[in-house]
Amino acid sequence: MSANKTCVVIGASHGGVNFGTALRKEGWEGKIILIDKDPEIPYHRPPLSKAYLTSPLGIEAYQLKSKESYVKDSIQLKLGVSVNSIDKEKQELTLSDGSVQSYDILVMATGARPIIPPIKGIKTATNLYPLRTAKDVENIQTALLNASTKDVVVIGGGYIGLETAASLKKMGAEVTVLEREERILARVTAPEMSTFFEELHSSNNVSVLTTKNVVAIETENGINTVVCADGTSYKASVIVVGVGILVNTELASSIGLTLENGIKVDETAKTSNATIYAIGDCSYHFNPHYNRYIRLESVQNAVDQAKVAAAAICGKKTVYNTIPWFWSDQYNVKLQMVGLSQGYNQVLMRKEEDLKFSIWYFKDETLLAVDAVNNAKAYVVGTKFIKENATIDKEKLVDTSVVFKPAELLKS
């Protein structure tokens, strides 16, 4: 039935690539075309700020799928090309190479791009990069290699900034992280976690400074001076900016799709236009477990929405219903997170060792989320309680003499 049809995907990262594979698996017989302005064979993004930054290997070592697997699944890649415009009546895209591509089904996996804040002097700063693509990483590696000093300033103390700081330290840089808020990771974790990560970086000789609002960057002879509102300043040969993202919604907006903190989609990832779907970082979607619309920047969400959209397009009714999960690697710490902590009114800690513990976010008796440090068990136990909406015995939870198994921790 779909043999003569064409499904075009804008964006070939985790969402787009997994969508292509899933669509074929669901039985789509027509063409599948993935378009991305990034010229590289699609790659894993999470390692960019972690293993890949410190690795001598090329980006091919981190590819999502082998070249052969696209051939095997008859998935056509159009890389290094961007979409200039969409004609929703004709169902056609105009691409940056001048060609026109028609579609029967369009999937927007357009993702997001880093914010470059309007700081005075930021455009003339030397060796200043965001970190979102393989090219960004290459730029940072080259800049550090050729810089006259190894001083690096990271603007922004979120996960990207902190992971990048840890990786650059490993590469021999002297790193200072400047965070505007009073604590790092302020938007996403409890104060206990912020303190833990500040101390972790400090013990690895990375300077993490908070309440540092960068107001100007002055550049002279290849050296930047990063100036903060409190009058302090920091020298840097290389600057990495990690202050958040902007969702790529321009194309969606140009054809009048409903936007609301992203491209609004239903439980099958369909937009307000019946022939257009949106998946991954760019989608504003309903999460049944938390009973609200959310937008997520994560691999999990991209992959799970890809599968739901592929099933829906092939006429199978699968509804998006997953518990979000994330991870971060810094130095010898593996942080695994499950759930969404927003709205918590109590935080409990279960601590096995200094470098092995977990933070549990509750709203009254309901477990919302868990942050697990070097503690996969806590991550797994937390996942099970959240999924099953089971009530946890808080006294037993924080008592490490109680066996760490769901059955032992159930509130009777």
Binding site: H14, T21, S69, V303
Partner: protein, 102 residues
């Protein structure tokens, strides 16, 4: 060179040969049904679960602590369970048979 055999939940037998990389990457690159490897091989997602044939456990060794903990995410875990992102392809694996978990 190691020959690695996957048996999928549909009982499809897929024989592959490789010299390096992880067993998960080998499976993903060859479209082995049931092996997703969403996290890219850092033991964070448990989407590459296989059961090693009991007589082949000597080839693979046993799971590390974090791997064992992550395997608990899956109800279908056995004492022969592994996350195959944690298995590196080497001659030691030659001839191993892996049943993809359901």
């Amino acid at each position: 060179m190691a020959k690695i055999t996957f048996i999928t939940s549909d009982n499809e037998k897929i024989e592959l040969e490789a010299t390096s990389g992880s067993v998960m990457q080998l499976a993903v690159d060859n479209g082995v049904q049931g092996i997703d490897g969403d996290c890219g091989g850092v033991c964070s997602c448990a989407t590459c679960h296989v059961h090693v044939l009991p007589e082949h456990v000597s080839k693979t060794g046993t799971a590390s602590e974090i791997e064992q903990d992550m395997l608990e995410l899956d109800d279908n875990v056995s004492e022969y369970s592994r996350l195959c992102c944690q298995l590196d392809v080497s001659d030691a694996l030659d001839g191993v048979v892996l049943q993809v978990a359901k």
